[in-house]
């Protein structure tokens, strides 16, 4: 991707959080690019640092968290040196965010219309009636029936799916260049999830904004993303286009995630799904080995000797593993546990 089509560029992002006795290091050396009109999905289990990465990009982490980065650019502007005032101007205007839980992301004290106008009037010199007009247009655009009525309603009068549509409309108000959606469908039921995702995709294509989609749901990714960034333990472990990563995962962690999804037509009834044993460990201190080594079925002694660097895997793909990329060392059944009883107690790490 050339520099001028790049909206967001993150280099060497680190987040550290002091806790009593030590320091958590939940985001390490993360690089992410989002181009104009591109959807980049950040995937990984809970606790992999996805949301913290998003909040760090928005400058919304609590004061206690120490955020460092080599570069954090929106278009050509460096956000790392931006003043709090500049941050406030950018948020909601150039970068917008859609949150995970639409039930708590709207203030129960204000009407939908008031909350939408507030955003516009904060960033634009615009009259209240014009702001209402634009809010109305956008509510219609995100497929809310009877938008005039909804404008006058309070959040508790809307269902979860409607609220998430309102959140999307709010994010679009100022025509941002980048939208960060932090698990936008996790709190919704499956049928609504599909609608919301389709809406996000359509709007993203129509307006040509960059979308940074954070999710643990590979099913969501498959239909949406242009590129995938897989995170594990606060590090980016694999980057590639959507098709590349899902069809031929290179990093064992990605492979484990992909193996844990049942494929309609291929997975037979009663067939065991793969899963990744263990949980994401707490991230403390410097790396001395591969971060995934304790859960990796392919791990060798070489994996424990030193931290693994990102390497070019050809085709524009990147990965953080020393396994050969040609698939010679791989056995797809390595993820299926021989002992069924213990497998039942474990959760599938990648959900449908």
């Amino acid at each position: 991707m050339s520099d001028d089509t790049r909206i967001l560029s993150v280099r060497g992002l680190n987040v550290q959080i002091p806790i009593p006795g030590s320091t958590l290091w939940p985001v390490r050396d993360v690089n992410i690019d989002v181009g104009r009109g591109e959807t980049v999905a950040v995937v990984g289990e809970s606790g992999c640092g996805k949301s913290l990465t998003a909040l760090a990009i928005m400058g919304l982490l609590p004061r206690q968290a120490k955020v460092q980065s080599e570069a954090l650019r929106l278009n050509a502007e460096s956000l790392a040196e931006a003043s709090p005032k500049r941050w406030r101007q950018l948020r909601g205007d150039r970068i917008a965010m859609i949150f995970q839980d639409p039930m708590t992301a709207l203030d129960p004290c204000y009407r939908i219309g008031d909350q939408m106008c507030e955003i516009l009037q904060q960033h634009r010199k615009i009259s209240r009636s014009a702001a209402m007009k634009r809010s109305l247009d956008l509510l219609g655009k995100v497929g809310i029936p009877a938008p005039e009525e909804r404008l006058k309603q309070y959040p508790h009068q809307l269902s979860g799916g409607l609220r998430q549509r309102v959140m999307i409309a709010m994010a679009l108000l100022c025509e941002p260049e980048l939208i960060i959606a932090d698990e936008p469908t996790t709190a919704l039921d499956v049928t609504i999830q599909a609608q919301i995702l389709r809406l996000l995709r359509d709007i993203q294509r129509e307006t040509n904004i960059g979308l940074l989609l954070i999710t643990h749901d590979l099913g969501v990714v498959a239909g949406m993303a242009d590129r995938i960034v897989v995170m594990y333990g606060g590090e980016v472990v694999e980057v590639g286009t959507c098709d590349q990563v899902l069809a031929q995962p290179l990093h064992p962690y990605t492979e484990g995630l992909v193996r844990s999804i049942p494929v309609p037509g291929e997975t037979e009834q009663g067939e065991a799904l793969g899963y990744i044993p263990g949980i994401v460990p707490r991230q403390v201190g410097e790396r001395t080995a591969c971060g995934f080594v304790d859960r990796c079925p392919y791990a060798t002694s070489a994996c424990r000797e030193e931290p693994i660097a990102m390497r070019d895997a050809g085709d524009g793909r990147l990965m953080r593993c020393i396994l050969p990329t040609d698939g010679s060392a791989r056995d797809p059944d390595v993820w299926i546990l021989p002992d069924e009883t213990s497998a039942q107690g474990a959760t599938n790490s990648g959900s449908l």
């Binding site: 919304l60 909601g92 205007d93 708590t104 129960p108 904060q122 959040p155 508790h156």
Partner: protein, 285 residues
């Protein structure tokens, strides 16, 4: 429907709100229209008419419905004018203490970290101070006036505001709509006044009612000890104090202002409780 109308509709159906509200309403009306309700001046003495018993006693008459005190002052008039001071003092002190406590609570709850530690320290220090004793010392040192009394009580009773607002704010600060407000570029003052304050009105209203009652009782206690409201002003606490010598001979002289106090405090608490039920925003869970 707007939250205001929801609250109104709920209030109409709330029994406690009706009972408490009616009592307070009547007391307020009586305080405001005191000059119309009694021909007497509460401080004018008429020594020849001392210790007239109230109307329900054998020697009582409708001329002085609640009798007179030892100096011949009409007891009903004193009760009415005393209500003015008790109510006014309750309101004014709560404005002072509520402002201080809310500001401290929001600061501590929203920022956490060292501002929280400092404010917590002040709350702890404040909680170690015996309120009546401190008020007594201040009044004894500086002298007693109604305004000083309001100021002292107001400066002492902010602790409950601070504690309740702090914890309510802490809970709110975790909500996504606060993060979301920051994500759309809202400034901090805007978040505090437009997002947090409206969402903590429920607990704030309850504490306000409790603290009004608290302040009125404290004033009564200080007046009883002779360091509160000074004659010729009159308050219910002062009436109880002045009647204590007559406790065994004319018990109604204590019972009347005492019952008035009980009734008022009871009513305020009822309304405070009802307001909490009524103002909780829908879908706030």
């Amino acid at each position: 429907m707007s939250p205001g109308r929801v609250a109104l509709r709920r209030a109409i159906r709330h029994g406690g709100f009706w009972i408490g509200g009616t009592i307070i309403f009547v007391i307020v009306l009586m305080a405001i229209f005191a000059p119309l309700l009694t021909p007497y001046d509460p401080s004018v003495q008429s020594l020849s008419e001392g210790f007239v018993p109230p109307v329900w006693a054998e020697a009582g008459s409708w001329e002085h419905p609640l009798g007179t005190d030892n100096l011949g002052r009409d007891y009903f008039a004193r009760l009415l004018y005393g209500a003015r001071i008790s109510l006014g003092l309750g309101l004014l002190t709560v404005i002072i203490s509520g402002t201080i406590g809310t500001a401290m609570g929001i600061t501590a709850g929203y920022w956490g970290g060292w501002p929280d530690m400092i404010i917590n320290f002040f709350i702890t220090v404040r909680l170690t101070l015996p309120v009546v004793l401190v008020a007594l010392v201040v009044v004894a040192l500086i002298g007693s006036s109604l305004w000083l009394l309001i100021l002292v009580i107001g400066l002492l009773l902010w602790d409950r505001f601070a504690i309740v607002v702090r914890s309510a704010t802490q809970q709110l600060a975790q909500r996504e709509y606060i993060t979301s407000a920051r994500a759309i570029g809202s400034s901090t003052p805007r978040i505090l006044f437009r997002e947090i304050l409206p969402n903590i009105t429920g607990p704030l209203v309850v504490v306000t009612s409790i603290e009004i009652a608290h302040a009125i009782l404290l004033e009564a206690a200080l007046s009883f000890l002779g360091l509160g409201v000074q004659p010729p002003d009159v308050s219910w606490g002062l009436m109880v104090a002045e009647a204590k010598a007559q406790l065994l001979f004319r018990p109604w002289m204590i019972a009347i202002p005492g019952a008035a106090l009980v009734l008022l405090i009871f009513a305020i608490n009822l309304v405070g409780d009802a307001l909490r039920d009524v103002t909780t925003p829908e879908g706030k869970a």
